[in-house]
Structure formats: C-alpha cells, structure tokens
C-alpha cells in the first residue's frame, strides 16, 4: 500500500484510519468516515462528546500528520470579533494620524484610508485561518464552542458557510483554499441547528475495551501488560456505574501513566482508592467507590479477565 504523501489529503476511509494511526490516534471507523468526508467535501467537522474523549486531539493530529499549521480559537463567554477575527492597531493608528498632522498633509480622506489599511490590522485566529499558507490550508480548531455565547455562533455562520469574513473598512476577505475546520463542543448547552447544519456532525463516544487497550499501549509505552488490561477493564466497568461524570480516555491515560510511574504491576484495592482522584473528579462519585465497592469491582474485573484468557 502506498502511504499518503505528506501534506496531501487521504484518498479513502482506510487511508484516513492509517493517517490517524500513524500519529497514535486510534479512531474507530465511524470517526474516520466522517473525517474523510469532511476533508473531501470541504465541510467543517462538528465533534460533540463528553470531556476527555479526544475531540481536540483530532485537530492536533490532523495538523501534525498533514503538515499543516494549527490555528486554535479557544471559546469563552464574551468572546467577540476583536479577539476572534481582527482588531485595529489603535496605538499605531494614533501615531500615524499625528504624523500626518505634523507633516501638514492633513487631507482627511487620505489619512483615514491610510489608517484603515492592512498595515494596521491585527489578525486574530479566524482571519489568520483564511490566509494562504505555503504548507497548504491550515487546520482551524474552534474549541469548546458551547462556552461562547449565541451572538458569536451567529457570527461564525458567515465564516463557515463561505470561508470569508467582512471587515467594514477593508472589504471581504475570502480564503483561496478553505481551512480544515474542526469544531468541538462539550454540550454544556445546545448549539444552534443553523450552525450544525453547515457541518458534518459526529458524536465521539467512549472507545470499546479493545480499542482503549490499544490506545493505552500507544500512549503509555512502558506499561506492564497485566496492569494495562486491568486498568482498561476497571475504567470500562466504572463507566457502567451510575456516576455523575464517567472517566474519559484522558483519565484512563492519566491513571495508567500515574500507576506506571508508581511502579505498580497489578491493581489492588488500596492503590485504587489512593489514586481514585486521577479518575473521578466529583466527591460524590469518589464516595460511591469507598469501602468495599472498589474491591468488589476489582474482583469482578479480574474474574472477567481470567475467563477471557
């Protein structure tokens, strides 16, 4: 099989899977399909899912494997055009106006034209993403869009539909090569349908035990075989419990590397309860596993693993 040449987009769903696997991102086929389509059709990819399932990571991996520039826009409440798209360099503009005055060439029309030119424009992530790049169109990551307010969402519509922004003083800036857009959301509120309609949607779920095990092996290289299997199956069992916040893949990896650092070779109830804070982030959830509960779960996991052997 020919490997995908650097910088070029993958030619099939299988190639997309390989591409992600090269960067140690082990995706399932549904994710590879939607990603391939997004790249092929030039549509933004909208990823929703619980925290810590690797949504943001996809954009990073894409940028790294395709050799593109990664431009990240972290959303927050109150995010506005001045910090997301562009801002004028007011200090420099003031100086330019003063200089024009001092020189006596105070033609008002000309001064205002000079002052609102490309030279005084500070480009923020969205505008940067529309600019041509030598290594190909960049990857634009709009992270945690649910944190921004609705007003910002409405603004994004123009950017995502036509890959252009309008700066009143300059005119419309349109991307020659549309960037690869990845939008993530933790679903702390519903994102408007109008925005989702322009994207390909995918819900990133928790991986299966088998895939999670491969992820652990890929990301925590030195880990003992037995420990990794116990860790993964314990976490999988935890997700079935009635927890307020189930641990994500990120937590599994944190836990695996923490235990690996502690030179643990196999799980025991004491270690589990000592390190539970790495996995669970709510006191109520931790309290549920106190006492004999952790031991029971561990015994069950062991029994299952033994049966599988």
């Amino acid at each position: 099989m020919n490997a995908t040449p650097a910088g070029a987009l993958p030619a099939s769903i299988d190639k997309t899977l390989d591409l992600l696997a090269d960067a140690d991102y082990l995706a399932d086929r549904s994710l590879a399909t939607v990603l391939f389509l997004a790249l092929r059709m030039g549509r933004p990819l909208f990823l929703e899912g619980e925290a810590g399932v690797g949504k943001t990571e996809i954009a990073k991996v894409l940028a790294a494997t395709l050799g593109r520039r990664l431009i990240r826009l972290q959303c927050y409440e109150g995010l506005d055009v001045a910090s997301a798209v562009y801002e004028w360099n007011y200090a420099a503009q003031m100086i330019a106006i003063r200089l024009a005055e001092a020189e006596g060439t105070g033609d008002r029309e000309r001064v205002s034209e000079d002052v609102f030119s490309d030279r005084f424009l500070i480009k923020r992530p969205l505008l940067q993403a529309l600019e041509p790049d030598t290594s190909g169109a960049p990857v634009l990551l709009i992270d945690e869009i649910d944190r921004a307010d609705e007003a910002f969402e409405a603004f994004l519509l123009e950017v995502l539909a036509d890959f252009q922004v309008t700066v009143p003083e300059l005119g419309t800036v349109k991307a020659e090569n549309p960037p690869i857009v990845v939008i993530t959301s933790n679903r702390t509120r519903e994102v408007h349908d109008a925005l989702k309609r322009r994207c390909l949607y995918h819900w990133v779920g928790y991986p299966s035990a088998e895939r999670e095990l491969s992820i652990v092996h890929a990301k925590v290289p030195g880990i003992a075989d037995r420990l990794s299997r116990e860790v993964v199956h314990f976490v999988q069992a935890l997700r079935k419990e009635d927890l307020f916040k189930a641990p994500g893949v990120a937590e599994t990896l944190d836990w695996a590397s923490a235990l690996s650092e502690l030179d643990v070779v196999a799980l025991d109830p004491a270690t589990v309860s000592d390190t539970l804070g790495v996995l669970l982030k709510y006191q109520d959830d931790i309290a549920r596993l106190e006492g004999t509960k952790a031991k029971e779960m561990l015994d069950q996991v062991r029994a299952e693993l033994r049966a599988a052997e």
Binding site: S12, I13, R29, S30, T33, V34, F36, L37, A38, R40, M41, R43, E48, Y76, E77, G78, D80, A82, W88, Y90, Q93, M94, I97, R98, A100, E101, G106, R108, V111, S112, V115, D146, D149, E150, A151, R187, T188, R189, E190, D193, K196, R197, L200, Y201, H202, W203, D242, F244, D284
Partner: protein
C-alpha cells in the same frame, strides 16, 4: 440487460432515489432533514465511494444526523430501510399507491416513531393494527404508571380562552444578568478605541472624544421542572400554557415534565400556536397524571440535563406540590445538587393556596432547606406575582423564613 452501462446508470439513479426516500422517512420520523442535506448525502456517497454497508451507514450518518439524540432513530430507520433488497422495493411500492403492497410483517419491534414514519403509506387496516400492538407492549411496562396520553382537546373552550388571554396579558419576567460581552454605552467602563478613533478622525484628528463600552445585560436562561402527577393534574395544563407563553417571550427556556419519569418538552413548546405546542407535549409524555417520583426525576435531570441547560446563570422553577411518596436521603441529595448547580431555585407550590398550609409532609420538609424561594402558584394572580418576583432580583426571599421556621 446486455448493456452494462445503462444498467450501471440505472443503479445510480436508484441509489439517488433511495436516498431521497430514506431522507423522507427520516424527516417523518422526526429528524429534520432538509433538501440541502439530501444533496450533501449524494455528494458524500459519491465521495466516499461506498464499499461496505458499514461505510455507507456512517456516510449517511455523517450528513443526516446533527444531534446525538437522533442517532438511535437514524439507526433504526437505516436498519429497516436497507435491510433487504426486497424491502426497498416494498417501501417504494408503498410510496407509490397504485402498486400492490407485498405483505410482510416487520420481524422486530422498533421505535414507534420510525415505524409510523416508514409505514405511513400502508393501508388503513394495517395502520390500525400497528398501534394496538404498541399499546399492549406499553401496558406490560409498569402497572403503577398510568400510561395514557391525555388529549388536550378535552380542555373546555372557555377554559382555554380564559387562560390564554390572561396569560397573554402577563408581564413576563425581565430578569437580567450582566454578561462579559461588551456593547457601546455612554457610561461604560472600557474605552472603545475603534469608535473613539473614528470620531476623532471625523474631526480631523485634533480632538479625541472618548467613547466607552459597557457590559451588556441579558436575560438568563430559565429552566422549568413541572410535576404532572395525579395530585397536580388540575394545574399542570394551565402551567403548560404559562410555560408556552414564557417560551415564546424569552430566548432560552428549557421545560421538563415529570411524574414517574422525566420528559424534555422544550422543542414541543416552541410551536407558535399554543394548541399545537400542548398537543406535541401531550404526545411526548407517557406518564400523565400518574404517581410522583420527585427524587428519581431530579436525579435524571441532574445527571442527564443539568450540565446542558444550567450554564450561564440559569434560574430553575420547580413546580410541584412536594408530595413525594417515600421521601428519603436521595431526595435531599438531589435537591442539594440542583440548588448548587443553578443561580436561583424557585419552588412554586399550588398547595400554598390554603391559608393554613403548613409544611408537614415529609417531602416538603426535606426539600425546603434547598430552595431560594417558595411561592404559591394556583391562580393567575399568583402567576403575575411570580413574574414580578422574577423581574426584581431577590424578590421576596424573606418569605422563605416563615416556612422554614414552621418546618
């Protein structure tokens, strides 16, 4: 037959046709699929160069599904639609009324919505049989829940009119919170360099007239949890009208109904016409006028919805009489969690209409310590009162003390 090219072309045409039919079925099943999405689907199928069934599945999924909740509906629709070749033909036969319908019963029971959407073209008799099976299946689920879907048409005309006009006359809450978003303001706290520079350029750059930005205010989201159990049945219909009026006037309102289970009716209440909205609600709810399980309903809300609807300083209206069948520690726990995750928790209790009401019931006493406000809601006057209280931050929170002392 011999001409392979024509055959291939014909197949491509059929695929397009199938996708169009499939989109139509999805739409009828409740997944909003526009004509644009159909074109996208065709482009996507062509781009992906569909090989396996799985790839085909996820390709259509990528284009048609825009919400996680729709995944299950899509899955079922896909399984029925593309199960067998014969099935596709059967389905197309149904779409075209003049063709004879081959008789075959679906082997598996799937969601009623999907089933109805796919078989809406079936003959009258077959259609009548379908719901009967469904009703039987429902009755076996639980004998404690009264699983009947109450028809809002039964509401007397006079009743509707009186409620509608009175509720329309209500001045709806105008509670505002300050956001981090800035807007031009005369007495703001941040200098707006952009406008300042523009206006000084107008004056030739000699004068610098400072312009300001201030924090914009916005109505916080409102979340209503409405008890529709038997003991509340006299009120719940009117409250639904109230919620509809509020949903109409405010941008972000999420409404939930609970009896023995929790149902999200936010979308249903968005219909412009109150009758349509209430009919949609009534269709969505299965446990109308049954028992109450406040603790488990609150648990479901806290776990599944709280993080999705309580962001950005939401106010929660909890409308219930608090008559929990067997209140225990979990009720206090869930109330505490709810209270900690929202900005203000207002409990509206129709039982407060009795002057001699005392918080004797154990459920009421368990819940009281966790609410910010406790108010009556049993007639239009108290609804108006509520609106006034929501407008002024804090309201008359002092009234809570009286109940807490009594408890």
């Amino acid at each position: 037959m011999a001409d392979h090219q024509t055959e291939a072309k014909g197949n491509a045409g059929r695929l397009a046709e199938n996708i169009v039919y499939f989109a139509r079925a999805l739409r009828a099943a409740g997944i909003p699929v526009g004509p644009g999405a159909v074109l996208d689907a065709l482009a996507a199928v062509r781009a992906a160069g569909v090989g396996t069934r799985e790839d085909f599945y996820w390709t259509l999924h990528a284009v048609f599904v825009k919400r996680h909740e729709h995944s299950a509906l899509f899955d079922q629709a896909f399984r029925i639609f593309f199960r067998r070749r014969a099935y596709i033909e059967r389905l197309m036969a149904m779409m075209m009324p003049q063709a004879p319908v081959p008789a075959a019963a679906p082997a598996k029971i799937v969601s009623q919505r999907v089933q109805e959407a796919l078989f809406s073209g079936l003959s009258e008799k077959a259609r009548r049989e379908q719901p009967e099976i469904e009703v039987d299946a429902r009755l076996t689920m639980s004998d404690r829940e009264v699983l009947q879907t109450k028809d809002f048409a039964q509401m007397s005309a006079a009743e509707i009119l009186a409620a509608k006009s009175a509720i329309a006359r209500l001045v709806l809450p105008l509670d505002e919170v300050r956001t981090r978003r800035l807007a031009p303001m005369n007495r703001g706290h941040v200098i707006d360099m952009r406008r300042t520079l523009r206006s000084s350029l107008k004056a030739g750059g000699k004068l610098i007239d400072l312009k300001y930005l201030g924090r914009r205010t916005r109505m916080p989201p409102l979340v209503a949890l409405l008890d529709i159990s038997g003991s509340m049945s006299e009120y719940s219909r009117l409250f639904l009208h109230f919620l509809h009026a509020v949903t109409d006037a405010r941008k972000r309102v999420a409404s939930f109904l609970f009896g023995t289970r929790l149902t999200n009716v936010t979308r249903a209440l968005k219909a412009r016409d109150p009758d349509d909205a209430l009919a949609a609600c009534s269709a969505a709810v299965a446990d109308w006028s049954g028992g109450t399980r406040i603790a488990s309903s609150l648990h479901a809300f806290n776990k599944r919805w709280a993080r999705r609807v309580l962001a950005q300083g939401a106010i929660v209206l909890l409308i219930t009489d608090g008559l929990e069948r067997d209140p225990d520690k979990s009720l206090a726990f869930e109330m505490d969690r709810l209270h900690r995750s929202c900005r203000r928790l207002v409990w509206l209790n129709p039982l407060l209409r009795f002057d001699a009401f005392e918080p004797r019931a154990k459920g009421v006493r368990t819940m009281l310590p966790y609410v910010d406000e406790f108010r009556p809601i049993h007639n239009l006057e108290s609804m108006a009162e509520l609106c006034r209280a929501l407008s002024a931050a804090g309201g008359r929170a002092g009234s809570l003390r009286r109940w807490l002392d009594a408890a």
